[in-house]
Amino acid sequence: MADRERSSTRPKGRVFVARTQVMDRDEVRRALVRIAHEIVERNRGLEGVVVIGIQKGGVPLAEQLVAILREIEGTAVPFGTMDVAFYRDDIGMRPVLPEQATDLPFDLTGRTVVLFDDVLFTGRTVRAALDALAELGRASAVQLAVMVDRGHRELPIRPDFVGRNLPTRRDELVEVNEEGVTIGELLVPASEAAR
């Protein structure tokens, strides 16, 4: 989601150009396994725990996490997805469009919510997610898991579970997908620049 924050503010026509891969597929998987164990340890099991992926980068990772939790604890943790577009604080300042409707097939009240996003950056997406959660029910606790914490926080938000702490320049862009984690930047494609 943090990627989207950057991508959506991008000047028109720019595209992501990968520069350095910082985690490969196996490293992402290992980080998820570690986070899964940390979640079990922190919550003394998985009683009442639900996992919510933030659209859209957090969703595939959260799905993997749920599968790993099932492997290590034998428990099917309830899984949902959340799109926080309508709770953002920059609506009207840049294009904001939801990726997909929020899908939470369970009641939040009394649950321990593990929010999962791919990249933690300014913290504004998480702020929006917390607002959305508060309207959807009263979770007993909310914990934040991210694959990459790239710094540059603008709000007092701290992750509970981190895949990799990754120092970045503010103008860089971090992309997380099934192939791994890549740092890159936004550039004008030649076809656009020629115009």
Binding site: V15, V17, D83, F86, E185, P189
Partner: protein, 358 residues
């Protein structure tokens, strides 16, 4: 941010980095992923919604996708999001309408916008104030969107010259009623999605839709012809000759005066209200005769395909366009249309005020 980019002939990206940093950037690897990442952000930037033509096919589909997100909001215990907090939406209705105005106001409130209501009957318009003075006054109060209904075709377009707010046409004379067409497309799409076990159809291709009734005076028909055909549906207009528009050459539709002959191939029957207030007596011998020739009676409903859908923009006059018992059959989507009206209008307001169009 202003560093120049050097284009390369191969269509690949330049080697210049984003700022004065690392010159190692290469174009080959990430471009595909980047494009995919931005795929959801086709920025159809319109500031006003006066006609379905303002949106085009891509714009309509974008409203459909956005409506899905708001449909989920509508199902929540608290069906409200803070997306347009601090924005003000004024509804300016110079013609009587309850459902469209309430639908827009509900939509605005569910987006946390503030709502100002102006209705002609209780306002300075009855004292002789001109439309221009009325809308300029409302605009001067500081609003972000003006939802306008007017008896004159083209009035909302004129209003765009006078106000700074986004203007949304909620029905102008016999011209257009774009949000009705959008909610109708959404309702059909929703019915198809349910039929296909949750698989959303890309558009309305392959559907044959009949619009039946007073085509000539119907802004709903005009907007729906544009919207249905933009999404690939085939449209047939069914009306007595007196209620058919004079010139139809540029319309991508077929026409017939015989409803019975077309019933068997229809996927959707869209019934229009007979607008008694716009009709001279001369156009129709009687409402009974209209019902006999063009009303959706039980016998006609039985001649439809099993999965055919029945729609009506309301207010529905039972016994004229539709028999009372048919209106309550499961094929009738009339109440879904009303429910989806709020959802689609949320999408329209958010599209114009929130998604970065301004």
């Amino acid at each position: 941010m202003t560093a120049s980019r050097t284009p390369t002939s191969s269509g690949v990206l330049s080697e210049h980095s984003w700022s004065d940093g690392d010159p190692e950037a290469t174009g080959a690897t990430g471009a595909g992923a980047g494009e995919e990442q931005f795929a959801g952000h086709s920025a159809t930037t319109v500031r006003h919604l006066l006609s379905i033509a303002d949106l085009g096919r891509e714009g309509i589909l974008e409203i459909m996708r956005l409506s899905d997100a708001f449909a989920e909001v509508a199902e929540r215990p608290i069906p409200k999001v803070p997306a347009l907090r601090g924005r003000t939406v004024a509804t300016v209705f110079m013609e009587p309408s309850t459902r469209t105005r309430l639908s827009f106001e509900t939509a605005a409130k569910r987006l946390s916008a503030d709502v100002m209501t102006f209705t002609a009957a209780t306002s300075a318009a009855v004292k002789g104030e001109s439309l221009r003075d009325t809308v300029e006054t409302i605009d001067a109060m500081g609003i972000d969107a003006m939802v306008i209904r007017h008896q004159a075709s083209g009035a909302p377009l004129r209003v765009t010259d006078w106000v700074g707010a986004s203007v949304i046409n909620a029905g102008d004379g016999t011209h257009e009623h774009p949000t009705q067409a959008l909610l109708d497309c959404y309702t059909i799409r929703e019915a198809l999605t349910t039929r296909r076990n949750g698989a959303v159809p890309p558009d309305l291709r392959g559907l044959r839709i009949a619009i039946v009734g007073d085509i000539k005076h119907s802004r709903v028909a005009r907007s729906n012809v544009l919207a249905f055909t933009a999404l690939g549906a085939e449209v047939v207009l069914v009306a007595p000759p007196t209620l058919m528009p004079v010139s139809l050459e540029s319309w991508p539709v077929t026409t017939t005066g015989d409803l019975d002959s077309t019933l068997g191939d229809l996927d959707v029957v869209y019934l229009l209200r007979i607008q008694s207030e716009r009709l001279g007596e001369v156009l129709l011998p009687s409402l009974d005769e209209y019902h006999w020739r063009y009303g959706l009676t039980r016998a006609r409903a039985a001649a439809l395909k099993k999965e055919a859908l029945v729609m009506h923009p309301g207010p529905m006059i039972r016994g004229v366009e539709i028999s009372p018992e048919v209106a309550d059959l499961p094929a009738s989507l009339v109440t879904r249309q009303v429910r989806n009206g709020v959802v689609v209008r949320m999408a329209v307001l958010f599209h114009l005020l929130g998604s970065g169009a301004i």
